[in-house]
Amino acid sequence: MFAYIVRRLVYGVITLFVLSALVFMLVQFGGGSPLDRLRLNPRMVNVIQKLTVKYGLDLPLYQQYFKWLSGFVSVDRFVVLGASAWIGFGSVVAATAGLFFTKVKATWFRPARAFGVVAIWVSFFWFAKSRVDFAMDWGDSFRGDGPVWDLVFGAAGATFRLGVTALSLALIIGLPLGVFQAVRQYSFFDQVGTLGSFIAFSTPIFIVATGLQVVLAFYLERWTGLKLFFVVGMTQVGYGDLGRLAQMGDIFRHLALPALSIALISIAGYARFQRAAMLEVLHSDYLRTAKSKGLPRRTVLVKHALRNALLPIVTIVTLDVAGIIGGAIITESIFGWPGVGRLYIGAINAVDYPVIMAIVMVIGMGIVFMNIVADILYGVLDPRVRYE
């Protein structure tokens, strides 16, 4: 499996290299320059000249690209604050190695080990966040926003919060919905669910977002007098002064609508997919065998049917991350959510190449990574899958 992962990583790096060159060219040939907004001010001529040199816009295109690329892969700063981060790192590496070398024959062990490794590393990154000052040299925003690394990762937290919530909502609602529809095939509930899924699929996300905003954040308050949801923002001003419970409430009231906007399409997708997968399993021979053995209906459905029907959804969910980020780009603008999507739109409007490139590459890396994760997870969850 190790060789497989390395091979996939090499392919991923090549893909990202081609992607970066392609996007760089597209942005260049898309027309315009980041300094165009200054050109209609007769007094900015000398400023334009200075900035052209400062940003290297006077260099040939290939030189601009390689200048950007060399910065993108260079570390700007790496400072470990205190020994605890090193100790933590050592512990995590040891724990990971321990888990990999432990041999347990129980079927639950393989997935448990995989999730354990992920959990350990996520915890470590959370722990190291405030103990390690790390940045890549992604240059400065041409719009004057400052270092691109700080900009992108400053916004990434907000997008992560939104994306994880949306994904969770989609899983929590979409999967049970699909299962229930399959179990009650052709029932009224199934028909309504199918219709709802098609509507959710075919409605553009900006209409969903605006609709939720107007109905639940504006009219609901008018009708009931209760302000349950906010139209815009991630938190209200003075959030830090609120109590813990009020802070949680504030987060929920800001997060609910944008997360639901993004999740709706995924809910529909997961429900449809899960319904199909479940139906396929329900009509399989081994399930018929299980039923004929007299097993309780619940055991048949949960232990034999659902467990197998859940396998394909892993691939769908991991690949859906790209869709969720795509949805976030629009949703964040509508809800004034300070994430990467909103940053991306602003950068495109300002022809801010370094920011555009950084965001495209981060999303690209995320998709490549999630593809690899999907493949690995599939093997982990299904013992029949072997990597060569």
Binding site: G31, P42, F142, G144, G154, Q213, L242, I345
Partner: protein, 599 residues
Amino acid sequence: MTHLWRSRKVAWSAVIIVFALIAAACGGTAETTTTTTAPAAPVTTTTAAPTTTEPVVTTTTTAAPTGPAYGGTVVVADDQEPPTLNAFVPGGDNFIVSIVGQSYWAGVQEIDGFTLELIPELVTELPTESNGGVVVNDDGTMTVTYTILDEAQWSDGVPISGDDFQFTLDTIMDPDNAISTTTYEDIVSTEVGPKSFTYTLSAPTVLYEFLFGNIIPKHDVEGSDFLNDWNDTMWVSAGPFIFNEWQKGEFIEVVRNDNYWKKAENGDQLPYLDSVVFRFIPETDSIITAFKAREVDVIQPPPASETIEELQKLEAEGARVEVLSGPVWEHLNFQFGPARLIRNPDSSNENLNYRKAVAHTIDKELIVDEILAGQVEPLDSFVEAFSPTLSQGSWAQYDYNPEKAMELLELAKAELGKDSISTVFSTTSNNDARVKLSELFDTMFSAVGIVYENQLEESQIFFGETLENGQWDLGEWAWVGAPGLSGLIGIMDIFDPNGPPPEGSNFYQWGTPTSSVIDDNTARLAEIRTALNQTVDPDKLIPLLQEAETILADQVVIIPLYARLVTAAVWADTVGGFKHNPTSAGHTWNIEQWYRLDV
């Protein structure tokens, strides 16, 4: 038992969640919980805060007779977020930077939102020849003296002095900083006093009017990394508020400057508010919805007629909508350089009769009706967007007259030896108003027999290579006007025959070395422009400006169309003191005068 436990657990969870939701919903917003009274504030009567569902319908004219109350927060929404707080670094020229900056910056002058004229801010009076603040010296130089207000001080209590002016000048002239040095570079000497600053320019020019619009505190900034240290935070304030917090992508909060030096006309210590929050919402529709939901108090949305109508419906609930003619003026123009032939090999722009025919072809009234719902009058001169009182309305001679246009076209055809005349119109395709304009032009030009074609482009392309290379035939875009004679003189650069792009800004290439039109008029305009930059005497400047206006209109170099609307809306039943300013000062120009009616 297990089932019971599980169901109880679920039930308790549900109860807690519902309770949390209700508590959160009923918790109110932080904006209403942060109102405090300034220590120096006079005792005022307070009114109950209106709920978001039952707004109190009053207007700002019904402010409490005891005067504005102190305290409270106003939330201002904008679709842009500042890239930096520092106006002197790349990105600092964005309008939103100065909209926020109005709360903590101060300079020599500001633009009055009522009269749209320059008024003094940090100085006792604006220097002029008549008050002795400006002296044209015998050696051809010009000396300007500012007398700084005695009470003017930074938020840390340090007096604002001539040293700060000198430091500001040094910062602007530092070659490491990418700041426009125009006119500052002509300063040949300075003299610094505790409460005065004097500088000498190499030649007389009224462009001094706009210098030192934002002063940097030497004691706070000196020794810092100027390009990097002041992007996310701000130096000590000279304005009514102090920068407090910037949640990137969300909001900037400024809080009261207790050491603010300015008092209201009634003697009240300013500002009235405890804080102002600038919330950044990229989507216009979301701004409107947030305004309707009273999550924000003041907005400045794009002036689309549907938006204006939608906002005006809220006036019954306590909102006030101000729709004004702004400084941004749209104009039709001709390209005179050789690259126009790439766009239209049959271009006839060099022919005066053709240009006059075009001027008579344009139905400006219809354009204003269609694009601005008739909310403003069309422009008869670009001068109206700068100093309306100086405008002669020189383009009024070109009324909408298709018959006259056809006569002129026949003359043009005879002069050019052509059977037909064609034009290719270019502007930005991602601007709805301009797209509409192109459709209207199609009808108007076709009606008089001009073969017309639209070739619209993305703004990045149009404002990039198209403009720089002069690669259009008939074009349309906007310039920004500015009050004062300096603004009007500054805009003459775009007609300067000695200033072709990229160094200059005569994008039309009228009279430039490669132009198809080089004659006595272009030569005279070059002379006028030179003369305008050599004197500060209004008695000499105004006739020169009027002569330039006449030449430009008679030669139909451009055709001014209309000034864009600027819109602002405020919940006037809760926020008082607001007055929209359509100039570059923006709607926060008098932010120190704002107050809440519900504290």
